[in-house]
């Protein structure tokens, strides 16, 4: 019997290695796997590369992980947020590496990794600082730059519903980066608000098929709040 549902945070985090690349879903605090980030802090892995849309708020979650010195590099589109104090302090002190990526490019790099596409060309960023040092190619009269797939050793996801095969649904704007992070990661770990019996999620309503999911932890986290 396949059962991807794990019973403890320690089981969910087992095997995450120092130096791992972690893809972190969520946009604002909606659909963000806050409990799993706390689990990663507890787990203790360090020298991490973290890809996420933002670079953390206040002193909790991703910001806490950075404040503890566990993050070597952050890949994101918008490091400024309502309260980016930890990131800005580390960045100014030269204690964290930043790779800034346009939001659509980071999304497509993650999607491409999940789809087995190692590289692609995009018009986004042509003629800007983002294009410096990148391969350029003119295709049908328009200039493009090459971008590379962004794989995760680990992907952290928040779902609305999950079953023991790892089929997932998301709620409203909680979908955001979650489906592509699940696709692009070697070890996809999910915290879910609800656990459903196999067959209870209608096949037409599955957003992420279980093939992309490795572990599911039931965390009835409640509504998001605080951006």
């Amino acid at each position: 019997m396949i059962n991807k549902i794990v019973q403890s945070m320690a089981d969910a985090m087992a095997g995450i290695k120092d130096g791992a690349t972690v893809l972190l879903a969520g946009f604002g605090s909606v659909g963000q796997p806050n409990a799993l980030i706390d689990g990663l802090i507890e787990h203790g892995a360090k020298d991490l590369t973290v890809a996420a849309n933002n670079a953390g708020n206040g002193h909790v979650g991703l910001a806490r992980l950075m404040e503890l010195g566990r993050v070597r590099k952050i890949i994101c589109s918008f490091p400024r947020s309502s309260d980016p104090v930890v990131f800005e302090t580390l960045y100014k002190a030269g204690k964290i590496e930043l790779e800034i990526v346009p939001q659509g490019t980071i999304a497509e790099r993650i999607r491409a990794a999940g789809a087995g596409v190692p590289q692609f060309f995009t018009a986004t960023g042509v003629g800007t600082k983002m294009a410096v040092g990148k391969e350029h190619r003119e295709i049908d009269g328009r200039m493009y730059i090459r971008e590379d797939a962004l794989h995760g050793d680990v992907g952290l996801v928040e779902a609305w519903e999950a079953d023991r095969w790892g089929n997932l649904t998301y709620k409203l704007a909680g979908r955001n980066f979650n489906p592509i992070v699940a696709m692009a990661s070697n070890l996809t770990i999910v915290q879910t608000q609800h656990v459903r019996d196999l067959g209870e999620i209608h096949p037409d309503h599955v957003h992420t098929p279980g093939i992309f999911v490795n572990r599911v932890l039931h965390i009835p986290y409640g509504d998001p709040g605080g951006f």
Binding site: V30, F78, R80, P102, G104, A107, E108, T124, G125, A173
Partner: protein, 216 residues
């Protein structure tokens, strides 16, 4: 002093809103562009997109009707209109990068008369530069309009011959709505479509670095 009345923020948004026809799919940036949606009547069906997978965004909710799982890219609570839909981030940016949006309206620091736009960083060594979806929107939408003040607070021109700030994208701005004028970006450069009441072309040119043209 010149005797003219600049457009205020609401009028700038109204000027842009009046030019959006029914049926367009539109993404609005933060700041004054966000106000544009308030001036498109609901019976003129314009479908608003937000980068975090929202299509068919409606007006802001009343406080008692907030849905905590429904925000836009500016992280404000929103509503969905009937017919609205949700998708994931890569599909949402496929709408942008795949050329499916009819229009994107952004704010800007500078626009050049060849259509270059600078709107994400004010220096090359900005602390923690943040680009978000601006480069995708500018390069990907079928047309890009900009809403911004005509000059900086200290009076420096923002309509220029060459952007001095880091570029967001090249040659993509089609129209600019400022507090002083509405201008098209054409092969000839900026063409003045309209001006704030009482303003003369001479006065407008004095506040514009790039050369202004009248419609042919």
């Amino acid at each position: 002093m010149a005797d003219f009345t600049p457009f205020n923020r609401v009028q700038m948004a109204q000027n842009a809103a009046a030019d959006i026809p029914e049926g367009w799919y539109v993404n609005l940036g933060i700041g004054i562009p966000t106000l544009v949606a308030d001036h498109v009547p609901l019976d003129r069906e314009v479908i608003f997109h937000s980068e975090n997978g929202i299509l068919g965004m409606g007006p802001a909710p009343a406080k008692e009707n907030i849905e905590p799982w429904l925000i836009n890219a500016g992280k404000q609570y929103i509503t969905l209109r009937d017919g609205g839909s949700i998708c994931h981030h890569a599909d949402s940016f496929a709408m942008i990068r795949g050329g499916h949006l009819d229009l994107c309206v952004l704010g800007a620091f500078q626009v050049a008369d060849n259509g270059d736009i600078a709107n994400w960083a004010t220096s090359d060594n900005d602390t923690a530069p943040a680009v978000g979806g601006a480069m995708d929107l500018a390069a990907g939408a079928k047309r890009l309009w900009v809403i911004m003040d005509h000059t900086t607070k200290s009076g420096e021109a923002k309509l220029v011959t060459k952007c001095s700030y880091p570029l967001t994208a090249q040659t993509c701005v089609k129209r600019v709505y400022t507090n002083l004028a509405t201008l098209d970006v054409t092969d000839r450069g900026f063409v003045v479509l309209g001006m704030a009441p009482g303003l003369t072309l001479e006065n407008l040119q004095a506040r514009t670095e790039a050369k202004l043209h009248l419609p042919a």
